[in-house]
Symmetry: D2
Subunit: 94 residues, 4 copies
């Protein structure tokens, strides 16, 4: 699905920005681990930690999207598009 | 599993470092998308892209680990520890 | 979440029943592979095939649920419960 | 990867057979739930339970494979094929 030009102010905007700053730092940490020849298994564990942090960001976004954008779209009769978007997200997540 | 103090020079070290630099840039891109109030669905799609980039880094690391560290450990009779490490990684991945 | 006592006639009921009959047959096939001492890697590949078949059943169910139950609940003002159910499903899927 | 003609007697054969019998019963249970028009969310939860049961079967198989087939292959100098098989399994699992 091509990027839309819709806009949404996230209700948890600052919290999400803080989380992503931490994820960015974790990715830099991965870079450092490889640069310093750390053991592969330790790096793989750290990648799992980054993956869970990212997963949590996507769950917060998903819940806010459902509570606001999806509800509004369905109440305005635009369920088809919002459900198509939902299924596209779920297929990528699974 | 606590971090070990083993060291490994990754055979694909520079390629991995480049990939992680790109992932870091992608995470900054996510930060910008939220900051600029982009649509949640577009951000969720971008998170999936970051997740796949990270997954590819872990697959490269996993393969190199299997080819070098696991083979060496098994050839030296240390299969127990290396298989325990393997199963721990697989459980986190699944 | 405890099982509810709500009822829903699936719009794709027969197709879902057929799919699940096939999955059941695939699981019996796994049983036979182990019974006949087939190679572990072949069995693991077959488990992945069963997992994808199950995933497709859950995606069909999810889409029908979104199109019917979620839309109806939101139109009737019961968004809170239906979004809680959605997030619970997504967390289990991810 | 095409099915091989290798054979392996699983060290946990009976336990795996019992687990798969239970999974088969769970899939029949899913069939019944749809047949009896149970609520989609309840069915989706049950699919997650079947998916975790299958995941546990694959983890038992994977560990036994690593401990026996992989170790033997590596000790006999056939690491290339066994690592190719490992990576193929991991890619399907992830």
């Amino acid at each position: 699905m091509a990027e839309t030009h819709k806009k949404t102010v996230q209700p948890n905007k600052q919290a999400l920005l803080n989380r992503l700053k931490r994820v960015e730092g974790q990715v830099r940490g991965l870079h450092r681990m490889i640069d310093e020849d750390k053991y592969c298994v330790d790096i793989l564990h750290q990648i799992s930690a980054v993956e869970s942090a990212l997963k949590n960001v996507s769950l917060v976004l998903m819940e806010d999207h459902a509570k606001h954008c999806m509800v509004k779209a369905i109440q305005n009769g635009n369920q088809e598009e919002t459900i198509e978007e939902l299924m596209d997200i779920i297929k990528r997540m699974k």
